[in-house]
Amino acid sequence: MNLFGAGFAWILAPRHWVTTAEGSGIGDALVHHLFLTAVSVLITVVIAGPLGLYIGHTGRFRRVAIGASNAARALPTLGLLSALILLLGIGDVPPVVVLVVLGIPPLLAGAYAGLESLDRQTIDAARAVGMTEFQILRKVEIPLAAPLLLGGLRAAALQIVATVALASVFGLQSLGTFIIDGLAQADYVKMTAGAILVAALALLLDGVLAVVQRLVGPRGVSRGTDRHRTTARDGKKPVALTQDAH
């Protein structure tokens, strides 16, 4: 059996799902992995959401935000995590801080790019008929930019969920635990299983957010796209007929 097959078999074995004296089970690791992800995404949204909307709406501090985002992206995640753990000790706080730093740039970029992509005339008209700035944001900008805002959230969540595994380097429980332990124990099947679990969780989360992203599309706008898609699909029909004829 190849390594992948063995990895899947390892995951499917019920005894690997419960925590024993030998080590963490998948269940506990998954729960803590999701916990770290959820807390980090939440804090990222609370910080970067309003900031991104403010920058996108006003156009102010755009350069500062881009500079800071790029700087944050350049930070070595593992290095930052090590430094914070040395400073604050082992616990959930250091990885959450690192994950938030990692998640802010894509979310921020999604927010301000989303608002900037909107037609200036639409915003101008909303203001001219008497919407307050906050009403413009809530009733016009956010609904119209929703797919791009969600896109930023999706990118941030994906980065975070995949990077949580790093916390296990310092003994914190996550799906990365199996990778780290597997490496230490030269148990490559366990390591592969860990990698598969991290990847699968990331894909699952991304898939869910992709569906949400489609659903939040503003109706009057996405309809045009739908019509486009229908035409494209209709366009394929003659091809299918030709194939039938052969």
């Binding site: 005339q121 639409t122 008209a125 909303a126 203001r127 001219a128 008497g130 009733k139 503003p218 109706r219």
Partner: protein
């Protein structure tokens, strides 16, 4: 009545969009600001609802300095129609029209009922109420834009090149509708255009502007046509190219009771009725144009 008193708008970089502009816009009439791009006409219009604040000078509406009115409240009390309709693409037609009413906390049912009435007013089928703006033609979108401008029953309607982006036939329809609406609803309309023919068609008062919103000439279309104040005005209205001076064509024989008219350049400009070979004398009702021959139903779908 809207009064501009020595209004100046200077931007931070030193450019003066408007300098020392003074004018009175009478109530229940249509006043048209006309001029080339960059002459400051749109800036003037946007000062009336405080989308732009003047750096100097005072603008009064019925004697009240608008600088003392909160911009959002002021804008809700003034209708605004812009080029490309400016409708919210994610809201249905009915919600777009009701925007201002809903902002001012009119109950939804009442706001929607009013929006449906306004569809009638601007000559659109009520069946369009549940469509999204993207599903309408350009002309229909402009009508919805006008309906939205009228929703809160404002005394003043600002129209910023509203028909600039629609084709000539639809534009003619919409111009006729504007004349009809002004007559029926008795609004003070301030209209901005770069098209002098549109200005003469719609305006009771036409203000021709040069760069910096300097008034080149102000008056009724008849006054301006009969007596251009400067070479600039003559050029702007086409008088210098002979476009406004028509003569009976000597070369083309009359067809029926119509005689062909040519402008000074020799181009065909229109016909004049001449029953029995005699030119008919000018009618005394110059304002009867364009409304009668257009249906009130939207023909621009």
């Amino acid at each position: 009545m809207i009064e501009f008193r020595s209004v100046t708008k200077q931007y931070a970089d030193g450019t003066r969009a408007v300098s020392e502009f003074s004018a009175v816009i009478p109530s229940r009439k249509t006043t048209v600001f006309v001029g080339s791009s960059g002459c400051g006409k749109t800036t003037l219009l946007r000062m009336i609802n405080r989308m732009v604040d003047p750096t100097e000078g005072v603008i009064e509406i019925d004697g009240h300095d608008i600088a003392a009115t909160e911009p959002v409240a002021l804008r809700r009390s003034i209708g605004y129609v812009m080029q490309n309709s400016g409708l919210l693409p994610h809201r249905r037609v009915i919600d777009n029209i009701a925007t201002v009413l809903l902002l001012t906390r009119v109950p939804k049912a009442e706001a929607h009922a009013r929006a449906l009435e306004l569809l009638d007013t601007v000559g659109l089928d009520r069946a369009l109420a549940n469509r999204y703006p993207g599903e309408l033609s350009g002309g229909q979108q402009q009508r919805v834009g006008v309906a939205r401008g009228l929703a809160a029953n404002p005394n003043i309607l600002l129209m910023d090149e509203p028909f600039g982006a629609v084709d000539p036939i639809v534009r003619t329809d919409l111009q006729a509708e504007t004349i009809r609406l002004q007559r029926e609803l008795d609004k003070t309309i301030v209209f901005v255009t770069h098209d002098i023919d549109e200005a003469f068609l719609l305006g009771d008062q036409v203000i021709i502007l040069e760069k910096g919103a300097t008034i080149a000439q102000q008056g009724s279309p008849e006054e301006i046509l009969a007596n251009p104040a400067s070479d600039f005005v003559a050029s702007f209205i086409g008088a210098d190219r002979g476009k406004r001076r028509l003569t009976v064509s000597a070369d083309v024989p009359a067809r029926g009771d119509d005689v062909l008219l040519i402008d000074a350049g020799g181009y065909a400009a229109g016909v004049i009725s001449a029953p029995g070979g005699k030119l008919a004398s000018g009618s005394a009702s110059p304002k009867s144009r364009s409304v009668s021959n257009k249906t009130s139903q939207a023909g621009d779908a």
